[in-house]
């Protein structure tokens, strides 16, 4: 068995003395693991950092084997992003989120979204907003998508300002008025209305966090990843600095 392609590195684990188990997100084959011979050595280790994109060839005798990768860096992001705590949280959180997907199950939308987020990883407002979008896409791909296209009460498609925690559907400003304290605020950037502010980003994280907790983390016995807590804190810190 053999295939070649590109993949985003989600993480590496040491295997024996000199080898590494590389975890990639590929467009056509989803999350894919394989051994890199010499991957823990001084020559390969700097290249196999989470956040980098690599061109790989995977080989195995049978499809169900772990197999081996030969890898060459295509885009080296990690070294530049390491100086930014926000970017490191983004790299780690993308790994944590994409690890929720089953292995070898293609999710091209999430693959593309992860690349877009990484390309803006050092700007808290932009990275935060993109991460909220990625989390919405993740919920959708896992079968728990929200419906933000129209108001759950009136069917209207404009002036959508809130989201119902019960149904996961958008609610218009007028319909939300009597229940506003029990609904989530819909960030303006998700309604396609205006640029993202850091307050909107935090609203977005609160919204996706609730549904991820209820439908994904809770069901798997895990909790909000440390990287997400860190990214939210960095966003809040940035908002305080901007005031």
């Amino acid at each position: 068995m053999e295939w070649s392609g590109e993949g985003l590195i989600l993480g590496t684990r040491r295997h024996a003395e000199n080898n590494a188990i590389l975890e990639l997100m590929t467009r056509e084959r989803g999350r894919h693991l394989g051994i890199v011979r010499g991957g823990a050595g001084s020559r390969m280790r700097p290249l196999l950092q989470a956040g980098n994109t690599v061109a790989v060839t995977w080989r195995a005798r049978l499809d169900e084997h772990l197999g081996t990768f030969t890898a060459e860096v295509v885009t080296s992001r990690a070294a530049l992003l390491m100086a930014s705590p926000v970017a490191l949280h983004v790299i780690n959180l993308i790994g944590a989120h994409l690890r929720l997907l089953p292995e070898r199950d293609p999710h091209p939308l999430l693959h593309d979204a992860a690349h877009v987020v990484l390309d803006h990883a050092d700007d808290p407002a932009v990275a935060g907003a993109l991460m909220v979008r990625l989390e919405l896409a993740l919920l959708e791909e896992l079968g728990f998508g929200l419906d933000l296209s129209e108001c759950a009460a009136t069917g209207g498609t404009t002036d959508l300002t809130h989201v119902s925690p019960k149904s996961g559907r958008a609610v218009s400003q007028l319909a939300a008025l009597p229940y506003a304290d029990r609904l989530f605020r819909l960030p303006r950037f998700l309604g396609g209305d205006g640029p993202e502010s850091l307050q909107d980003v935090e609203d977005g994280f609160r919204l996706t966090g609730f549904f991820l907790e209820r439908n994904v983390w809770g069901a798997r016995g895990t909790s909000e990843p440390e990287a997400r807590i860190g990214l939210r804190a960095a966003t809040v810190k940035q908002a305080a600095r901007d005031l």
Partner: protein
């Protein structure tokens, strides 16, 4: 291939154990065992005694996390070291590497790993409370984060920086860039980019 034993169970067990030492495989373990057997009095017996003694006496320093036969360790006891400079390292092997270089006369703090979501290592698994307590003692003026230039290492470095933010200590980290003797042609793009970003005036 034949899987016949060439020696008695005691020697086979010695080979098996030696093969678990980093850097030794089954073949090199066999060679090492043979060398030990041949130099039984000169090497094997003293080595066994040294290992037994070390195994009985080795303790983890309750102050810095270093491995020594004393608690506090020899480094923490050394009064010639600068008490104002605290180097934070991932593991004892990093501490030994810095000590080999002989460039600093500082004290150390061994974290015991780096944060890693993949390996399930969180803040509670690292010696962070003790680090904060040491940094808050008053004698420490600067904390140098001598951690790996990897995503996990730098995530830990930023986490520690946040933890120490409220204390009156300077927090710095090691420089990143072109290694001594390194030829640009052979460096990876990431290292080159980091080196350019951290360039210094001549």
């Amino acid at each position: 291939m034949s899987n016949r034993r060439v020696a008695g169970p005691e020697i086979e067990r010695l080979i098996q154990l030696l093969a678990k030492v980093p850097g030794l495989g089954p073949r090199s373990a066999r060679r090492a065992a043979l060398a030990l057997v041949k130099k039984r009095e000169a090497l094997m017996v003293p080595l066994a005694a040294a290992m037994t003694e070390a195994a009985a006496k080795i303790v983890v320093c309750s102050n810095c996390g270093n491995i020594d036969t004393l608690d506090p360790c020899s480094i923490c006891r050394d009064e010639r070291r600068d008490p104002g400079l605290l180097l934070v390292v991932k593991d004892v092997s990093d501490l030994w590497a810095l000590e080999r270089s002989g460039v600093v006369q500082s004290r150390y703090h061994v974290l015991g790993g780096t944060l890693s979501a993949l390996d399930g290592i969180g803040p509670k698994d690292l010696s962070l409370d003790r680090l904060v307590a040491r940094a808050a003692e008053g004698s420490v003026k600067e904390v140098v984060l001598a951690l790996d230039a990897t995503v996990d290492g730098q995530t830990t470095a930023h986490y520690v920086t946040d933890l120490l933010a409220g204390l009156p200590v300077k927090v710095s980290r090691l420089a990143q860039g072109v290694p001594i003797g390194g030829e640009l042609d052979y460096l990876d793009e990431g290292t080159l980019a980091a080196a350019l970003k951290a360039r210094t005036p001549m």
